[in-house]
């Protein structure tokens, strides 16, 4: 084997603390290395051209690049090798930047370490095999989990692109948080007017199957061939028969059911259609509130339903869908502000969340757009808005900035003034975060044109006083305490991961951060991908986002799914396990530990043997470590390759 070694300077990133020339010189001493050099930027066009040229000149059949982490540029250099006619797997990287030059201060020690890492890479490369990717068939269908604005956008884009889409929504209607908003910033246009048509498009699109009131139960399979089992929860209504006429809700005697859609500040009936624009426009029964389902008597809805759609005996139903890609768009939930004792911990009726306030502002809300205090129904005059409730606060485990609260608070102060010209809004803020198109102008308008009084500081306590609330806080710009008497306090509660996000991530086998938001493949370069091939992210499930960003990410995820499924077959990663039948004694230990069920026991010449289903194998190597004979070997990470690295280091 002829091996070439390229030691990258990465400008001064590596060369600053590693003697790259000395590393290249040392590499020439390693077995089968016929060429070694240092290069300014190995990944640059001239850098890659140098590698291609050396492969030709020195008849190299393997290349080691010592530069940054393989997680950055392994794919880049593999393509370089392919351009020069080599197999992409005849390549190894030594990470001498993130693991050496950036973390070690002693140049001599760094240089030694870099040279040894190159030695390890050379020894591994000497045992690399020319692996070839296989091909497998794929299902040209996409599942979108979550029907908020991000999921809707992703579903529509995929469906317009010709893919069959299965859209799964947990609530009885799609629309997500956006459907609860009155207006949107910074244009102050009506939220349901711009979302509504998209929701209708979902309902009418021939390529979209919508499962509302449904959740993902389990996920098997792999990119191109996922089998997702969806639990369609009982609505107690046959949705095929239901016309959405609303007769049932009009007759339902259980009229004091807390209204989930209205954030529990209004009441609804046990059977209901959550809001007028709901998609699907179908009634469903809240089993905890329904008199028939809890006490066995009533059935008023069944009597009035013109199509006889009520089914009190309906059960959850499991359906399995085969899809090639999955887009997770499960959104976010709102922070539970009752953790803040200083804001009353939920004891004061007129201290409400911004989303509740949004429902008060909305013409379709419980007050039909009139701002009324929940306690006594009076119109408030002085309203205090408190920002960063559950954001940027380490003490309650929410150190991150939700990012959109500054904007919606500004919007709400403007709407407040529009609704009640005599009102006065006060906003306690930490910093105003308004880095978007027309965003900062918008917050300035709230202050300058709409007279919202912005006070930079935190609130220390809210105390009831004479039927109003005394809001005590600090004005850190003036350096003094302030006290404001308010009729209503609106808390800009931050976003947190949707309930059940962690469980869903585990089903999808994707990672999530400590707060439950799904982890993207790379924070900059793979913002909608995940580390599980074929699973993409859209919207706030990946981190709090405003509407434009969610829509953009929904579209981006759709583009990723479309490009993945534009092919008829997918190439399988050849870095999977393989069983040497001659060595296998058929003990089945590998089969018992495989996390993916990728190993089946077959009979070969009358003997039991293990066999890898290559399209199912994900390449973890658990089987290789379990096989006592070493018959199962994870390609590209074989026992001998790893032993070679160990031996290179310390023999």
């Amino acid at each position: 084997m002829n091996i070439g070694v390229f030691v990258c300077h990465c400008g001064s990133n590596i060369a600053g603390t590693v003697d790259t020339e000395a590393v290249a010189k040392a590499a020439l001493e390693y077995r089968e290395v016929v060429f070694a050099t240092d290069a300014m930027y190995a990944c640059s066009e001239p850098g890659q051209a140098g590698i291609v040229e050396a492969i030709g000149t020195y008849a190299l059949d393997g290349v080691v690049v010592a530069s940054c982490t393989p997680r950055m540029h392994e794919a880049t250099f593999r393509r370089t090798l392919e351009r020069a006619g080599l197999n992409r797997y005849m390549f190894e990287m030594a990470n001498i930047r993130e693991h050496v030059s950036w973390v070690g201060k002693d140049k001599a020690a760094n240089t030694r370490k870099a040279a040894e890492l190159v030695h390890m890479a050379v020894e591994k490369l000497r045992r690399n095999e020319r692996l070839q990717a296989g091909e497998f068939d794929i299902a040209k269908r996409v599942m979108v989990i979550g029907g908020g604005v991000a999921g809707i956008q992703a579903a529509l884009d995929c469906a317009d692109g010709g893919l069959e889409v299965v859209l799964v929504e947990r609530e009885p209607s799609i629309g997500g948080k956006m459907s609860k908003l009155d207006k949107t910033f910074p244009t102050v246009d009506c939220s349901s007017c711009i979302l509504g048509p998209k929701m209708v498009d979902v309902a009418q699109h021939p390529n979209i199957t919508l499962y509302a009131l449904s959740e993902v139960d389990s996920v098997d399979g792999f990119v191109g061939n996922f089998n997702v089992t969806v639990r369609r929860k009982a609505a107690y209504v046959d949705w095929d028969a239901c016309t959405g006429c609303g007769e049932c809700a009009a007759k339902c005697p259980s009229k004091k059911t807390p209204d989930r859609f209205n954030e529990f500040i209004g009441l609804t009936t046990a059977i209901n259609i959550p809001f007028p624009q709901a998609i699907p426009k179908k009634a469903s029964i809240n089993a905890n509130a329904c008199i028939k389902l809890t006490k066995g008597k009533c059935g008023a809805c069944a009597k009035v339903c013109p199509t006889g759609a009520i089914r009190f005996d309906q059960k959850d139903e499991l359906v399995t869908e085969k899809v090639g890609a999955i887009i997770a768009a499960t959104g976010y939930d709102l922070f539970d502000f009752t953790k803040y004792g200083e804001y009353g911990g939920g004891r004061y009726p007129d201290v409400i969340t911004a989303m509740q306030y949004e429902r008060l502002l909305s013409a379709s809300g419980p007050t039909e757009g009139h701002i009324r205090r929940p306690s006594d129904g009076a119109e408030p005059r002085d309203i205090v808005f408190i920002q960063c409730v559950g954001s940027r606060d380490k003490s309650i485990g929410r150190p991150y900035c939700t990012g959109f609260c500054c904007m919606y608070t500004a919007k709400q102060t403007i709407l407040t003034k529009d609704h009640m010209p005599d009102s006065q809004s006060y906003v306690f803020y930490m910093d105003i975060r308004s880095p978007g198109k027309n965003y900062d102008e918008f917050t300035r308008r709230a202050m300058e044109e709409y007279g919202a009084k912005y006070i930079r500081g935190r609130v220390s306590a809210i105390q009831p006083k004479n039927g109003r609330y005394l809001v005590k806080g600090a004005d850190t710009l003036l350096g003094r305490q302030v006290e404001i008497e308010a009729d209503l306090v609106v808390l800009a509660v931050g976003a947190e991961a949707a309930r059940g996000a962690g469980e869903l991530a585990e089903k999808l086998r994707i990672s999530y951060d400590p707060y439950g938001f799904f982890l993207e493949g790379h924070p900059k370069l793979k913002p909608v991908e995940t580390n599980t091939a074929g699973v993409y992210l859209a919207g706030s499930c990946q981190g709090p986002k405003d509407i434009p960003s969610s829509v953009a990410q929904g579209g981006a995820a759709a583009a990723k799914a479309l490009s993945l499924l534009s092919k008829d077959k997918l190439a399988s990663d050849p870095q999977v396990s393989g069983v040497k039948l001659a060595r296998c004694i058929g003990c089945g230990k590998c089969e018992s530990v495989c996390p993916f069920g990728a190993i089946e026991m077959i009979e070969f010449r009358g003997m039991p043997k293990a066999s890898i289903i290559e399209t199912v194998c994900q390449g973890c190597g658990v089987c290789t470590a379990a096989c006592p004979q070493g018959a199962a070997q994870l390609r590209h990470f074989t026992d001998n390759q790893i032993l070679a690295e160990v031996n290179a280091l310390c023999l």
Binding site: I585, C587, G588, V593, A626, Q629, L643
Partner: protein, 320 residues
């Protein structure tokens, strides 16, 4: 034990027509340990021996007989190996007929030879409560159990007769001999780290790499495909160095971790008398502590390294 032997023979005679082979013990070339006997016809049954010299664990022959109907005579400890083989589906329960026996203890031929000075003239061995009696040229010679029995006989839990298809002799607990003699593991634990390394260096320098330990092990089912003698993967170097020999012992220990029943075959078979069961014993102790698991008890269990719990109650992970 004489009556057990008769019972056993009767049972085997009765079962033999339905079986391809029955494995038992018979007098072999060594007067201190009996040899395996493969019975295919009734005439062989008369040659069966049953006394404390039946030390060898015959379970190791079973995987090789897979596909045949095999009977096996087994002491309580041997049954544990059979359970382990069943657990790993290396033998089929319906093809195996187990003839259990009421063992009183088994002789460790090496120590017995050392105690007696020679194995010549030994005619019979019997265990009588607290002492072991060898009849040598007609003269009885008495030894304490610690001098001449296998270490596993101390604290023996006896045969789980429930697993046996036939059982000859008295059911119930075997004799208890009190504390076992000090083990190599205990001796090692009194040493510092470097002394331990040097201990193995010395021991392993005597290893002749015959792999008898492996061949005797009832759970070393890889046999011809042993990782120790392969270049793909190349775990062990063929140089004659104690390091490589100890590496093999580590491989053996880790491959049998959670599976080894401490039957002692590896040490019994070692021609150099090396304490090769020590590593396995150390691993078993840990597996008992951490996973509350003992090999060879329940045929329906999974060995601990082939399953996991999301929350491992006994594992204390290091906090950095």
């Amino acid at each position: 034990m004489a009556s057990s032997l008769d019972e056993l023979k009767t049972a085997i005679r009765k079962a033999l027509p339905g079986l391809d082979v029955v494995i038992a013990w018979t007098a072999g070339p060594d007067a201190l340990s009996h040899a395996p006997l493969f019975i295919t016809e009734e005439a062989d049954v008369a040659r069966i021996e049953w006394d404390p010299r039946c030390s060898q664990n015959l379970a190791g022959y079973l995987p090789g007989l897979r596909g045949k109907k095999a009977g096996i005579v087994a002491k309580g400890c041997d049954v544990r190996s059979i359970v382990e083989l069943l657990q790993e589906k290396l033998i089929d329960r319906e093809d195996v007929v187990i003839f259990g026996l009421d063992c009183q203890g088994a002789v460790d031929a090496r120590s017995a030879r050392a105690a007696l000075g020679s194995s010549r003239g030994v005619r019979d061995v019997a265990i009588d409560g607290a002492s072991v009696c060898f009849s040598v040229n007609g003269e009885p010679r008495f030894f304490s159990p610690g001098e001449v029995l296998q270490s596993k006989c101390f604290g023996c839990a006896g045969a789980d007769a429930g697993l046996c298809d036939h059982f000859a002799g008295e059911r119930g607990l075997p004799p208890q001999f009190g504390n076992p003699p000090e083990s190599t593991l205990e001796r090692l634990e009194a040493m510092d780290m470097e002394e331990r390394l040097r201990f193995w260096e010395t021991q392993m320098s005597r290893c002749i790499r015959c792999y008898a330990c492996r061949s005797a092990c009832p759970l070393c089912v890889c046999q011809d495909h042993c990782a120790a003698q392969s270049r793909e993967p190349h775990w062990v170097d063929q140089t004659d160095h104690p390091r490589e020999k100890l590496m093999f012992q580590a491989i053996h220990a880790l491959h049998t971790a959670g599976r080894c029943t401490e039957c002692g075959e590896c040490e019994r078979a070692c021609p150099m008398g090396l304490p090769v069961m020590t590593l396995k014993r150390a691993l078993n102790r840990r597996i008992k502590d951490v996973f509350d698991y003992q090999a060879g008890i329940d045929p329906n269990q999974t060995p601990p390294l082939f399953e996991f719990r999301e929350v491992e109650t006994n594992i204390k992970e290091r906090e950095w």
